[in-house]
């Protein structure tokens, strides 16, 4: 049985358990997970029973038939044909007033808005409610790909850190990070790199700007390469030039708390235990009053995926098990007047504890 047949069998079991009559696949990641095919604009109506319908751009039909196990492939040439195919499939499968999942996590907002508006009678749930029950646990091959992505992240981080110097812009640092990651095989970004220096290191997820890095600036760098569909997520903070005593203390607080958490973590912990442990570790260290406890999220086909307690508080009760891959250190320690610090690694939960896939030097450099 191919891995896709096995996945389909398990997906259908989860659908039955959760009372989901169908899932609509619009995101690249879930489409790939079900078919093994990489395609950006495929749309699939996947019922709990019976044949799924795949709707693709007409020039992609032949390749889709060759690359996937899907039999009912419907080609479109203009948006009204695309919509027509979709509504026919929903009607044929008797789904218009049923419980149907949509890829809300990996599609743009307007697709969700339109889907909700055009399907007013369905009970809309998230496709991830079904698929993440499987995707959270990674196979050996998936883990190998994540190791590859982790290596790429480290190359990007090295290039970025080596570029940091007084007079260099955040943008130039991002340029070197992206270039090094592309050359190492990154095919896209979970999200573009963040390079936040000086006062911008205090921002929450702050893109990249034209700001010039100055001596004494902390520089928070966060990279999220995707290679062969799998992501890594890694962050480091450096100081341009000599760090102050206060910067050393704040950086050390984050580094120590993150390290203690990685070392303590055991399968069987709940997601919320990671946050509680790291919060507790920080509270024994300087500047913990600025602590923002949101330290963990899943990593896999997406650079942020289930479990994701910052987006879904109920994920705090998910139990961490071997073969799950999560990021440890997602949050930041923003100390006003001193800087924001983050050290984040993608780790694999093992039988004994966890293994960090990203291992780049963590101490303030």
């Amino acid at each position: 049985m191919s891995i896709y047949e096995e996945r389909v069998r398990r997906i259908r079991r989860v659908m039955t358990e959760k009372g989901v009559n169908a899932i609509v696949i619009a995101g690249v990641e879930n489409y790939y997970y079900i078919t093994g095919d990489v395609r950006r604009q495929a749309r699939m109506v996947f019922p709990a029973e019976g044949e799924p319908t795949l709707i693709v751009f007409f020039t992609e039909e032949e390749l889709v038939r060759k690359n996937t196990w899907i039999k009912d492939v419907r080609p479109w040439r203009n948006v009204s044909e695309l919509m027509g195919h979709f509504f026919s499939a929903m009607k044929e499968k008797d789904l218009t007033d049923k419980t149907v999942g949509f890829d809300v996590h990996s599609t743009p907002g307007f697709e969700v808005y339109r889907f909700r508006k055009l399907n007013p009678k369905i009970n809309l749930v998230e496709t991830d409610e079904v698929l993440m029950e499987l995707r959270m646990y990674k196979s050996g091959e998936e883990i190998e790909r994540m190791r590859e992505a982790a290596k790429i992240a480290e190359k990007g981080m090295k290039a970025a850190i080596e570029t940091v110097a007084p007079g260099i812009s955040e943008n130039e640092v991002a340029a070197e990070a992206e270039y090094a990651m592309r050359k190492a095989g990154a095919e896209r970004w979970g999200t573009i790199p963040f390079v936040n220096s000086g006062y911008r290191s205090l921002y929450l997820h702050g893109f990249v700007s034209h700001k010039i890095i100055e001596k004494g600036d902390p520089v928070l760098i966060d990279v999220h390469p995707v290679c062969d569909m799998y992501a890594a997520d890694m962050a480091r903070t450096v100081v341009c030039g000599q760090p102050s005593q206060e910067q050393k203390k704040a950086a050390s607080t984050y580094v120590q708390a993150q390290k203690q958490t990685r070392e303590a973590l055991r399968p069987g912990w709940k997601v919320g235990d990671v946050t509680q442990f790291m919060k507790g570790a920080m509270e024994k260290l300087p500047y913990s009053e600025f602590n923002v406890p949101a330290y963990i999220h899943g990593v896999g086909l997406e650079f942020e995926e289930w479990p994701h307690p910052s987006h879904y508080p109920q994920h705090n009760s998910i139990v961490l098990k071997p073969s799950m891959t999560v990021s440890i250190g997602h949050a930041t320690l923003p100390v006003p007047g001193i800087g924001g610090f983050r050290v984040e690694d993608t780790v694999l939960i093992t039988e004994e504890g966890c293994e960090s896939l990203t291992t780049y030097e963590r101490e303030l450099i």
Copy 2:
């Protein structure tokens, strides 16, 4: 009166005309348009009357107060505080069962899903219904920034095209395009570059892959840099090595039809007229049977914005007026067995016709 006061006055007029009681701002672009401040995670409840409420990460509060005209700024340190502020603001402003806009075009799907779910009684509309009435028309300064972005796009295109050679991967071409654009000042991507070669040139918007470019492959390159918040959108197609006669013909069909459309376009045309004209121009040329008529969308703060007839068929009736900026050539001519071809430019509608901001060589090279 500052440009932001003037914008707010006009936004409120549109809100009153359209019966929108408030808009919720979650996207970077609309937040910037209203405040002049660049910030990724700001959330604003902006009522038709009375003070707007701005909800920001606690370390950003001071800067937000300094950089913007907003008086009611509420800081948060964890997600439940953020949500608390949001629901308080909605309640105080008596919006929980009113007509409220949300930034569905520039936010990720799960934010739209959650907003809809947590606000079941509001009549949800798109914030763009209000803001794009203004944003579609660009000021002199906005146009200058788009010229800057257009120059950056051209530098990226030049670097990409110079990299195309047998044995080079799509990924390496994208690496050079991104690097050249970053170095020229691009601070992020409307969406990452597309580099689609050979059979992948037939795909609809197909990312970048590890595929190796071979002699005779058409290579479709599409770049979307953002600089100082404004985007450009440009695509070119080249053939690696000597193009075949068929490739020359197909490329020429697209180049000629796009050129004729740019030359014919006059203010007063409707958006749908552009598509009809370009479709008609193509129909006199070879391979027009593979024509996919979707040739125009707005460009500005977003690389794809209003008017956007492929997403909103009703936009076909929007009248093109001077100071609007659109892309001409969005679609593709995918000729099975021969290749997909696209030539796309960001143009400014003028009093006389249109001026192409991106002018890079369009003929098959």
